[in-house]
């Protein structure tokens, strides 16, 4: 366990190394990035083997940092952080594999990429709100440059929109944290100190602080109606960045809601839960319907991410340990599946067909031109629809079960979203991969143009597929870590509506 902070340091060191290596050759930079990502993942898995689930955070590092403000360099982990650290390692490794074809300014690409990963690890391991916030913002800036430099459609617009939305969200979070710190006369920024300070605020102030914190984080989680940055950002981003954005960065927002907003102001969740739940349900269904009519293949996936993240938010709003466990499981599951879908669309299909328009793909029988890709996408699509046997199923089922306890209506309406997800996924599979062509000559001419699937693409796909199947068949691997963490004293207070 105590190795976990190394994931952060390794990533930042890897970023510097990749930058240096990039001045020599692109291959060296790639090698550095892959080794760094694998190391980070390895450390996460190694920590997991020695992890005994409990309801306490295990302190990894705890040292005074800025004693004048009571800020500590405090890293800690529990089952939730561990789950997400492992996810980050997996997504980072797969992302490096799927960006093997980056030739332009490769060193800089991987430097930004690894800096982003380092920030993400930092967020998942921070136990001090200040430190959490620092890592949270560290993760924002590289996203901008990844998209603006190496992105595609409308990249500068998409990048700027994403950066401004993220930063506006973090400004709300900062305002909320400082409000608690100042008005509650907290001695420091540890979560427990802030939680103790927040209790001294009046009820209206607590409700307002919760709204600031939760909205700030939920913007990054793609909560309706603040989700619009997500599809444009995902579409504009280079494949690896879309994978990270949808796979990991949106989880930062959800994690912030779960780890910071809810425990700090537990009594406010009860008040806001209906609002959050209905916004989440609106997101699930609205984004699903929008995905159903998209003409750009990548936008379908972009909106599907928003829809799936709606389930996470619904799980949080249900305010019970079952739903929250489902939400964390869904974070993992969606991280893997969204990564896979973006990899197929952005890397495997687009790089070969040079179009993402479904109308154009309809005329190419991709299932014959690139069978491997078609198989991967069909499996990923099934997982995304929530088919039993894949990770999406236990996650969404657990969330719906938890939501049922909170409100039967929420669960029923949200379940409609599962149908919508099936509809847009099946449409995408049908149109993009099982298109028809009238002339056999077309087929051969296309076939010549399509480069074969490379080994990094195969390796990355298999890695992610294996993860979704493994968790689909044996979800208690992760639930076994997650559930005890949700019974910590801070979370107990949340489930009991602020009663300690």
């Amino acid at each position: 366990m105590h190795l976990l902070p190394a994931t952060i340091y390794l990533s930042f060191a890897g970023a510097v190394l990749a930058l240096v290596a990039g001045t020599r050759s692109a291959a060296m930079a790639r090698g550095v990035a892959l080794v760094t990502a694998l190391f980070g993942w390895g450390v996460g898995l190694l920590a997991a083997t020695g992890f005994t689930p409990s309801n306490e955070m295990i302190a990894l590092v705890d040292a005074p940092w800025i004693p004048q403000l009571g800020i500590r360099y405090h890293l800690a982990a529990d089952g939730i952080s561990l789950t997400l650290v492992v996810l980050t390692g997996l997504a980072a490794t797969a992302g490096v594999l799927f960006s093997w074809n980056i030739e332009e300014r490769t060193g800089e690409f991987f430097a930004f990429y690894l800096a982003l990963i380092g920030g993400v690890y930092g967020v998942f391991l921070s136990a001090d709100a200040f430190l959490f916030f620092v890592f949270y913002e560290v993760a924002i800036v590289p996203k901008y440059f990844l998209i603006a430099n190496w992105g595609s459609t409308n990249r500068e617009y998409g990048a700027m929109k994403l950066a401004l939305y993220s930063f506006a969200g973090s400004a709300l979070v900062l305002a909320g944290l400082l409000w608690i710190y100042a008005s509650g006369h907290a001695d420091g920024f540890s979560l427990s100190q802030l939680a103790a300070a927040a209790v001294t605020l009046g009820r209206p102030a607590q409700l307002a602080v919760f709204a600031l914190l939760f909205t700030g984080f939920a913007i990054l989680a793609g909560m309706f109606p603040f989700h619009t940055w997500a599809p444009t950002g995902h579409v504009a981003a280079p494949t690896a960045a879309s994978m990270l954005l949808a796979g990991v960065v949106m989880k930062l927002g959800a994690y912030g809601c779960l780890r910071v907003a809810m425990p700090l102001v537990p009594m406010a969740l009860e008040f806001w839960a209906p609002v959050i739940a209905w916004l989440a349900i609106a997101g699930i269904i609205y984004a699903g319907l929008v995905a159903l009519v998209q003409e750009d293949f990548k936008f379908v996936i972009g909106y599907s991410s928003v829809s799936h993240m709606g389930f996470v938010l619904l799980g949080l709003a249900a305010a019970n340990a079952t739903a929250a466990a489902g939400a964390v499981l869904q974070m993992f599951s969606h991280g893997v599946i969204a990564g896979l879908l973006f990899a197929v669309v952005g890397r495997m299909v687009y790089e070969r067909t040079h179009t993402r328009q479904l109308a154009a793909l309809r005329r190419m029988p991709l299932h014959r031109l690139m069978p491997f890709t078609a198989v991967v996408f069909v499996i990923a699509g099934l997982a995304s629809m929530g088919m039993p046997g894949f990770s999406g199923f236990p996650a969404e089922l657990t969330i719906l079960m938890g939501a049922w306890q909170a409100s039967k209506l929420w669960a029923i309406v949200a379940a409609v979203g599962v149908l919508v997800a099936a509809a847009f996924t099946l449409r995408a599979i049908q149109v993009a991969f099982f298109g028809q062509t009238d002339e056999e000559s077309d087929l051969t001419s296309h076939a010549h143009l399509m480069a074969p699937i490379t080994w990094p693409e195969r390796a990355g796909s298999l890695l992610l597929l294996a993860a979704t199947v493994l968790i689909g068949l044996k979800p208690d691997l992760l639930l076994h870590w997650i559930v005890p963490s949700l019974h910590s004293p801070l979370f107990q207070a949340v489930w009991q509506g602020g009663v300690r």
Partner: protein
């Protein structure tokens, strides 16, 4: 009360070093001007000047006994020593930046005047008496007017100098009028005695008038709205190292002078700003200046296409935050506001340094002139990224913690119910707005492709490279370990 010449000489050692350095710079240049090329004359002047500033830094750190000097004319306390050192450090960086800038006529005089201005800055940091404060402020200001107009072959430089001078002269007149009113009411020049005297009177109309006069001058010196109008023109037209000095060292010195004047001197007239509708005092006025500066600076910066004007409006918005830091003195002391000033100065000198080097290599007026910087010079692009992100307040760079500490302290004054808290929330919201224009700058530097006519690689002179790297390293180091600075207070 002691009037020891020995203590005075000891305390003024940095100033004497600087003056000696300036004289050596001038004398050496006089002897060698015929033999040397302008390039050599500049580097000789810069090396001598830098040595003098370094020696002055050593003098100012190892200053010996803290306490009042020569009666209470000057005071060496926990405010004076760090700010003097910071001002000298920023001057040193400015000298390094000058090494990369476009060559001007009379390089030695330029360096000598920078050193004279610095004498003014260091005295401003320690002045504890109205007259000394005014004289040191004028010494600094007059030098800065000359520095702003130093590029005599450029109309913009003359325009900058004239505007700066007219506004500055007006502000000085206001300040002197304010000082004379304070003296008239209290009969004292010494800040401690003034504080004692006003503590027992209420805010009479005459004192209120004096406060307004003083704050007008402060608003000018800090480039706070609505007294900011000179700043964009001066930053745009002045030679780049002069602009760097005006934006960094001069600002730190100005804030120090007024901090000392307002809290230890006029503290009893501060008023209460924790809730709306409490007794007024100068804090209300400072809060108004802060709010106006943050709003105006951030929104007008959005519309800028000229890089220096953008930096000027960004400076105005940062002044707003620093003014908030002045108010926050009451809950958090000097730490946050000093940290903010010092790290802001570092980032600004650095940003202007990058502009200066670019100007010597094909010009840098528009933001789009930065295009392709990462391919033309990774060093400039990398350091500029650090400076701009620090100005934008992105952790772990120093600009973030500066904002964080100032806002946290301001929120502690009456929480979100009071005007100070509102200003802090406003500032947090505006920092999201500010990110847009800072990212526009970085987009050109790191994303855009170089223009064909301006695509050559840039060779950065060694001294300028060292200055930029030192500034960037300082920002990163202070950002990671802010308690190094907070421990000083």
């Amino acid at each position: 009360m002691t009037y020891s010449y020995w203590v005075l000489a000891r305390a003024l050692l940095p100033e004497m070093t600087l003056i000696l350095g300036a004289l050596i710079v001038l004398g050496y240049d006089l002897l060698r001007a015929k033999v040397h090329t302008p390039e050599e004359r500049r580097s000789a002047a810069l090396w001598i000047g830098a040595t003098a500033v370094l020696a002055a830094i050593v003098d100012s750190i190892f200053v010996g006994q803290l306490g009042p000097v020569y009666g209470f004319t000057l005071v060496l306390d926990s405010l004076a020593v760090p700010t003097r050192t910071a001002v000298l450090g920023l001057t040193l960086l400015t000298l390094g930046v000058s090494a990369g800038a476009r060559l001007m006529r009379h390089p030695a005089e330029y360096v000598a005047i920078i050193l004279f201005a610095t004498v003014g800055f260091t005295l401003m940091c320690a002045a504890h008496q109205l007259l000394v404060a005014f004289v040191s402020l004028e010494l600094a200001s007059l030098s800065l007017y000359v520095l702003a107009g130093f590029a005599k072959d450029r109309r913009e430089s003359a325009e900058a100098a004239l505007k700066y001078f007219l506004f500055g002269g007006m502000a000085a007149a206001f300040l002197l009028f304010g000082f004379s009113l304070i003296y008239g009411v209290t009969g004292e020049l010494d800040l401690t005695r003034i504080a004692f005297s006003v503590a027992h009177t209420e805010l009479t109309p005459l004192l209120a008038l004096a406060l307004v006069m003083v704050l007008v001058a402060f608003g000018f010196k800090a480039a706070a709205a609505p007294f900011h109008l000179w700043a964009p023109d001066a930053y745009e037209g002045a030679p780049t190292p002069s602009a760097a000095l005006i934006a960094s060292a001069s600002k730190v010195a100005g804030f120090t002078l007024f901090l000392r004047l307002l809290w230890p001197g006029l503290g009893p007239l501060a008023g209460d700003i924790s809730t709306l509708g409490n007794t007024g005092g100068w804090q209300t006025l400072v809060a108004l200046l802060a709010g106006a500066s943050m709003l105006l600076g951030n929104f007008v910066a959005l519309a800028q296409t000229n890089l220096r004007r953008l930096l000027a409006y960004s400076a105005i918005s940062h002044s707003g935050a620093m003014l908030l830091g002045v108010i926050a003195w009451q809950t958090a002391g000097l730490g946050p506001v000093f940290y903010y000033m010092a790290t802001y100065g570092l980032a600004t000198v650095g940003a202007f340094g990058v502009v200066a080097v670019l100007e010597a290599h094909g010009g840098c007026d528009k933001i789009t002139d930065l295009a392709g910087l990462s391919r033309r010079s990774p060093l400039l692009a990398g350091t500029l990224t650090v400076f701009i992100l620090s100005l934008a307040g992105i952790p772990p760079l120093a600009g973030f913690f500066g904002k964080f500490a100032v806002f946290a302290a301001a929120l502690r004054i009456g929480g979100v119910a009071g005007p100070a808290g509102w200003l802090a929330l406003l500032a947090i919201a505006l920092s999201a707005v500010a990110l847009y224009y800072y990212l526009i700058v970085l987009k050109q530097a790191l994303v855009a492709a170089p223009k064909p006519e301006n695509a050559g690689r840039i060779r950065v002179p060694l001294a300028a490279a060292l200055a930029l790297l030192a500034a960037a390293a300082g920002i990163i180091y202070l950002g990671l370990f802010p308690s190094v600075v907070l421990d000083l207070f």
